[in-house]
Protein backbone atom coordinates (compact mmCIF):
# COMPACT_ATOMS: atom_id res chain seq x y z
CA UNK A 1 0.00 0.00 0.00
CA UNK A 2 1.31 3.46 -0.82
CA UNK A 3 -0.15 6.94 -1.06
CA UNK A 4 -1.34 6.47 -4.64
CA UNK A 5 -3.33 3.29 -3.94
CA UNK A 6 -4.56 4.81 -0.70
CA UNK A 7 -5.96 7.88 -2.46
CA UNK A 8 -7.81 5.71 -4.99
CA UNK A 9 -9.15 3.53 -2.18
CA UNK A 10 -10.42 6.41 -0.07
CA UNK A 11 -11.84 8.47 -2.93
CA UNK A 12 -13.81 5.51 -4.30
CA UNK A 13 -14.97 4.82 -0.73
CA UNK A 14 -16.23 8.38 -0.39
CA UNK A 15 -18.01 8.16 -3.77
CA UNK A 16 -19.65 4.89 -2.78
CA UNK A 17 -20.94 5.97 0.63
CA UNK A 18 -24.04 7.70 -0.77
CA UNK A 19 -24.33 5.11 -3.56
CA UNK A 20 -24.46 2.25 -1.05
CA UNK A 21 -27.17 4.05 0.92
CA UNK A 22 -29.08 4.50 -2.30
CA UNK A 23 -28.57 0.87 -3.24
CA UNK A 24 -29.79 -0.31 0.17
CA UNK A 25 -32.89 1.80 -0.32
CA UNK A 26 -33.41 0.23 -3.75
CA UNK A 27 -32.94 -3.25 -2.27
CA UNK A 28 -35.56 -2.60 0.37
CA UNK A 29 -37.95 -1.09 -2.17
CA UNK A 30 -37.48 -3.80 -4.78
CA UNK A 31 -37.90 -6.69 -2.35
CA UNK A 32 -41.13 -5.31 -0.90
CA UNK A 33 -43.41 -7.53 -2.99
CA UNK A 34 -40.99 -10.13 -4.29
CA UNK A 35 -38.33 -9.60 -6.91
CA UNK A 36 -39.34 -9.74 -10.52
CA UNK A 37 -37.53 -8.94 -13.72
CA UNK A 38 -40.44 -6.83 -14.94
CA UNK A 39 -40.28 -4.65 -11.87
CA UNK A 40 -36.49 -4.21 -11.96
CA UNK A 41 -36.25 -3.63 -15.70
CA UNK A 42 -39.31 -1.40 -15.74
CA UNK A 43 -37.31 0.91 -13.51
CA UNK A 44 -33.94 0.70 -15.21
CA UNK A 45 -34.66 0.27 -18.92
CA UNK A 46 -33.87 3.42 -20.86
CA UNK A 47 -32.96 5.35 -17.73
CA UNK A 48 -29.93 7.64 -17.99
CA UNK A 49 -30.14 8.25 -14.25
CA UNK A 50 -29.80 4.58 -13.30
CA UNK A 51 -27.14 4.11 -15.95
CA UNK A 52 -25.07 6.84 -14.36
CA UNK A 53 -25.77 5.72 -10.81
CA UNK A 54 -24.79 2.10 -11.39
CA UNK A 55 -22.09 2.95 -13.93
CA UNK A 56 -20.24 5.05 -11.38
CA UNK A 57 -20.94 2.45 -8.70
CA UNK A 58 -19.42 -0.33 -10.83
CA UNK A 59 -16.30 1.69 -11.54
CA UNK A 60 -15.80 2.69 -7.92
CA UNK A 61 -16.51 -0.80 -6.60
CA UNK A 62 -14.07 -2.35 -9.07
CA UNK A 63 -11.23 -0.06 -8.01
CA UNK A 64 -12.04 -0.23 -4.30
CA UNK A 65 -12.52 -3.99 -4.27
CA UNK A 66 -9.39 -4.68 -6.29
CA UNK A 67 -7.19 -2.64 -3.97
CA UNK A 68 -8.77 -4.23 -0.91
CA UNK A 69 -8.26 -7.73 -2.25
CA UNK A 70 -4.67 -6.78 -3.08
CA UNK A 71 -4.01 -5.92 0.57
CA UNK A 72 -5.47 -9.21 1.76
CA UNK A 73 -3.50 -11.18 -0.83
CA UNK A 74 -0.27 -9.47 0.29
CA UNK A 75 -0.83 -9.78 4.02
CA UNK A 76 -2.55 -13.14 4.30
CA UNK A 77 -1.75 -14.81 1.00
CA UNK A 78 1.93 -13.79 0.93
CA UNK A 79 1.58 -12.73 -2.71
CA UNK A 80 4.41 -10.40 -3.79
CA UNK A 81 5.69 -8.10 -6.54
CA UNK A 82 4.36 -8.41 -10.09
CA UNK A 83 2.01 -11.24 -9.12
CA UNK A 84 0.32 -8.90 -6.66
CA UNK A 85 -0.17 -6.13 -9.21
CA UNK A 86 -1.40 -8.66 -11.75
CA UNK A 87 -3.93 -10.04 -9.30
CA UNK A 88 -5.20 -6.56 -8.55
CA UNK A 89 -5.61 -5.52 -12.19
CA UNK A 90 -7.14 -8.84 -13.24
CA UNK A 91 -9.67 -8.87 -10.42
CA UNK A 92 -10.49 -5.19 -10.88
CA UNK A 93 -10.80 -5.70 -14.60
CA UNK A 94 -13.10 -8.68 -14.12
CA UNK A 95 -15.38 -6.72 -11.78
CA UNK A 96 -15.42 -3.73 -14.12
CA UNK A 97 -16.21 -5.73 -17.27
CA UNK A 98 -18.87 -7.91 -15.65
CA UNK A 99 -20.32 -4.87 -13.93
CA UNK A 100 -20.53 -2.78 -17.07
CA UNK A 101 -22.15 -5.70 -18.85
CA UNK A 102 -24.72 -5.92 -16.08
CA UNK A 103 -25.45 -2.19 -16.27
CA UNK A 104 -25.84 -2.40 -20.03
CA UNK A 105 -28.07 -5.45 -19.62
CA UNK A 106 -30.57 -3.68 -17.41
CA UNK A 107 -30.38 -0.20 -18.92
CA UNK A 108 -30.51 -0.87 -22.62
CA UNK A 109 -34.05 -0.31 -23.88
Amino acid sequence: MNVRLFVWQRITAAIMAPLVLGHLAVIFYATTNGLSAAEILGRTRGSVGWALFYGVFVFAASVHGAIGVRQIAAEWGRVRGTALDLLMFLFGGLLFLLGLRAVVAVVLP
Binding site: R10, A13, A14, A17, V20, L21, H23, L24, I27, F28, T31, T32, G34, L35, S36, A37, A38, I40, L41, V58, A61, G65, G68, V69, I72, F91, L94, L95, L98, G99, R101, A102, V104, A105, V106
Partner: protein, 124 residues
Protein backbone atom coordinates in the same frame (compact mmCIF):
# COMPACT_ATOMS: atom_id res chain seq x y z
CA UNK B 1 18.31 -13.71 11.28
CA UNK B 2 15.58 -14.80 8.84
CA UNK B 3 13.29 -12.08 10.09
CA UNK B 4 10.31 -13.63 8.39
CA UNK B 5 8.99 -16.14 10.87
CA UNK B 6 7.87 -14.98 14.29
CA UNK B 7 6.45 -18.00 15.98
CA UNK B 8 3.06 -18.10 17.60
CA UNK B 9 3.66 -21.00 19.92
CA UNK B 10 0.63 -20.61 22.00
CA UNK B 11 -2.86 -19.20 21.61
CA UNK B 12 -1.93 -16.84 24.40
CA UNK B 13 0.55 -15.08 22.20
CA UNK B 14 -2.20 -12.94 20.80
CA UNK B 15 -4.70 -12.31 23.55
CA UNK B 16 -5.30 -8.85 22.15
CA UNK B 17 -7.28 -10.49 19.35
CA UNK B 18 -10.15 -10.56 21.75
CA UNK B 19 -10.19 -6.75 21.73
CA UNK B 20 -13.27 -5.03 20.27
CA UNK B 21 -11.37 -2.85 17.83
CA UNK B 22 -9.28 -5.69 16.46
CA UNK B 23 -12.45 -7.69 15.89
CA UNK B 24 -14.04 -4.64 14.23
CA UNK B 25 -11.07 -4.51 11.84
CA UNK B 26 -11.53 -8.19 11.02
CA UNK B 27 -15.27 -7.75 10.43
CA UNK B 28 -14.40 -4.92 8.06
CA UNK B 29 -11.85 -6.98 6.18
CA UNK B 30 -13.93 -10.17 5.96
CA UNK B 31 -17.09 -8.30 4.95
CA UNK B 32 -15.15 -6.49 2.21
CA UNK B 33 -13.66 -9.73 0.94
CA UNK B 34 -17.03 -11.49 0.97
CA UNK B 35 -18.66 -8.61 -0.92
CA UNK B 36 -15.84 -8.52 -3.46
CA UNK B 37 -16.17 -12.25 -4.10
CA UNK B 38 -19.96 -11.99 -4.31
CA UNK B 39 -19.96 -9.16 -6.86
CA UNK B 40 -19.01 -11.18 -9.98
CA UNK B 41 -21.96 -13.49 -9.34
CA UNK B 42 -24.25 -10.54 -8.75
CA UNK B 43 -23.15 -9.01 -12.03
CA UNK B 44 -23.57 -12.30 -13.88
CA UNK B 45 -27.10 -12.68 -12.54
CA UNK B 46 -28.10 -9.17 -13.62
CA UNK B 47 -26.38 -9.75 -16.94
CA UNK B 48 -28.98 -12.44 -17.65
CA UNK B 49 -31.24 -9.59 -18.70
CA UNK B 50 -29.23 -9.41 -21.89
CA UNK B 51 -30.86 -12.66 -22.89
CA UNK B 52 -34.25 -11.19 -22.17
CA UNK B 53 -36.64 -10.53 -19.33
CA UNK B 54 -37.77 -14.13 -19.10
CA UNK B 55 -34.25 -15.37 -18.48
CA UNK B 56 -33.76 -12.97 -15.57
CA UNK B 57 -37.20 -13.79 -14.22
CA UNK B 58 -36.39 -17.49 -14.28
CA UNK B 59 -33.35 -16.86 -12.10
CA UNK B 60 -35.26 -14.53 -9.74
CA UNK B 61 -37.97 -17.14 -9.17
CA UNK B 62 -35.21 -19.47 -8.05
CA UNK B 63 -34.08 -16.94 -5.47
CA UNK B 64 -37.42 -17.02 -3.69
CA UNK B 65 -36.32 -20.05 -1.68
CA UNK B 66 -35.78 -19.40 2.05
CA UNK B 67 -32.08 -20.24 1.86
CA UNK B 68 -31.66 -17.44 -0.66
CA UNK B 69 -33.56 -14.98 1.47
CA UNK B 70 -31.23 -15.83 4.34
CA UNK B 71 -28.25 -15.27 2.08
CA UNK B 72 -29.67 -11.92 0.97
CA UNK B 73 -30.08 -10.94 4.61
CA UNK B 74 -26.45 -11.83 5.17
CA UNK B 75 -25.42 -9.71 2.22
CA UNK B 76 -27.41 -6.74 3.48
CA UNK B 77 -25.59 -7.11 6.81
CA UNK B 78 -22.20 -7.31 5.11
CA UNK B 79 -22.90 -4.23 3.02
CA UNK B 80 -24.19 -2.20 5.96
CA UNK B 81 -21.43 -3.22 8.36
CA UNK B 82 -18.71 -2.55 5.80
CA UNK B 83 -20.18 0.88 5.01
CA UNK B 84 -20.55 1.89 8.67
CA UNK B 85 -17.13 0.55 9.65
CA UNK B 86 -15.64 2.33 6.67
CA UNK B 87 -17.29 5.60 7.69
CA UNK B 88 -15.79 5.21 11.17
CA UNK B 89 -12.34 4.74 9.61
CA UNK B 90 -12.75 7.71 7.29
CA UNK B 91 -13.75 9.82 10.29
CA UNK B 92 -10.59 8.75 12.14
CA UNK B 93 -8.47 9.56 9.12
CA UNK B 94 -10.01 12.90 8.19
CA UNK B 95 -11.47 14.43 11.35
CA UNK B 96 -9.88 15.28 14.68
CA UNK B 97 -9.39 12.28 16.93
CA UNK B 98 -12.35 11.34 19.07
CA UNK B 99 -12.27 8.79 21.89
CA UNK B 100 -14.93 6.12 22.25
CA UNK B 101 -13.96 4.14 19.18
CA UNK B 102 -14.94 0.87 20.81
CA UNK B 103 -18.46 2.20 21.34
CA UNK B 104 -18.66 3.48 17.78
CA UNK B 105 -17.48 0.17 16.37
CA UNK B 106 -19.99 -1.77 18.44
CA UNK B 107 -22.75 0.65 17.43
CA UNK B 108 -21.85 0.22 13.75
CA UNK B 109 -22.23 -3.55 14.07
CA UNK B 110 -25.47 -3.10 15.98
CA UNK B 111 -27.02 -0.83 13.39
CA UNK B 112 -25.95 -3.17 10.59
CA UNK B 113 -27.59 -6.08 12.41
CA UNK B 114 -30.74 -4.02 12.85
CA UNK B 115 -30.86 -3.16 9.16
CA UNK B 116 -30.41 -6.82 8.22
CA UNK B 117 -33.03 -7.88 10.73
CA UNK B 118 -35.45 -5.33 9.29
CA UNK B 119 -34.77 -6.69 5.82
CA UNK B 120 -35.49 -10.23 6.94
CA UNK B 121 -38.61 -9.32 8.86
CA UNK B 122 -40.12 -7.59 5.85
CA UNK B 123 -39.76 -10.79 3.89
CA UNK B 124 -41.52 -13.01 6.35
Amino acid sequence: MSGARFRIESRRDSAYRRDTLWRAAMVHRISGLALALFLPFHFLALGLAIEGEARLDGFLKWTEQPIFKLAETGLVFLLAVHLLGGLRLMAIENLPWRPGQKTLATAAAGVALAVAALFLLRLI
